[in-house]
Assembly symmetry: C2
Homo-oligomer: 199 residues x 2
Amino acid sequence: MHIAILTFQGFNELDSLIALGVLNRIKTPGWRVTLCCPEPEVTSMNGVTIKAQSSLEEAEFADAVIVGSGTKTREVVETPALLSRIKLNPERQLIAAQCSGTLLLAKLGWVSGIAACTDLTSKPWVQAAGVEVLNQPFFARGNVATAGGCLASPYLAAWIIARLVGLEAAAAALHYVAPVGEKDDYVANAVKNISPYLA
Amino acid sequence: MHIAILTFQGFNELDSLIALGVLNRIKTPGWRVTLCCPEPEVTSMNGVTIKAQSSLEEAEFADAVIVGSGTKTREVVETPALLSRIKLNPERQLIAAQCSGTLLLAKLGWVSGIAACTDLTSKPWVQAAGVEVLNQPFFARGNVATAGGCLASPYLAAWIIARLVGLEAAAAALHYVAPVGEKDDYVANAVKNISPYLA
């Protein structure tokens, strides 16, 4: 299994790295989680430079793709040279978007006629793309999921684990990363958020 | 103000990057948050390579220091050549540790006779260093704070903001990153965790 986390210049560290950390709690052979970038190195909205672990072209062959967030998403969706490198297919892949990443799904038409989650800053842009924005942290229909607010990233990661491995594995991954003394409450709330979308 | 986040080889992405993201919500001139590393590049426990933003030697002059976590903390605390580069002083700096980072504070003697928080994996090592480990996400005494569980990182960052800027700024930073639809509850719980330690 390969889960590619699309991570562009100006990326939000929380949105790409929280998902990566939670997803890497799965230790089964062949489970691979990568920061999937347009260039060999990308620099975050706060000046953190990371090395790419896969290229945008590899996302086409991933089992699941998370579209990360960042300060340059509006530029990304207006750059045909970037968009043409991203070939996704919700019929054979799980597609998830975090915060402004939802705008990319909106532009590609994959949340049209569905509702979606995004952060408060990106909300007007997603609405302008014709998508209803929900006041909740997580929503999914079929193979397409969206989350809003950086700290909803664990829900998005947990939904992917639940879909690819199982809900028990997702709960265990969340339990590991949850705050000490709050672990049971944290997991219960997260499961409440994602379980309606695991039918 | 400079906040240095000590980030070693094998670092836990959540523990260093969540704190960095929350701390960077403060936009006042001169506010600087850096990943502070022993080498120009470090690679995380899950293979993410990042570029250092400051050197270990610069932590001596930071206003606050967070000791990040990772899979190699036990090696770090047994490596005099690394430890000798870290000159901290809780009398004139805020010192905070996340998860296995607490082990470094324990080895340096700064949580001796105090209690501390850490993650469940690091708990026996911290106890073996003679420190009482609490079943709660956050604890501080004076200028030394510790947190346990990756997703307690926002509490540690919020405590630093509250101490250096104010509780209102800390709450605003947390509100921004909290999940949509859960923001008020999230901030209230975080403030409940840190406010007893802001006397």
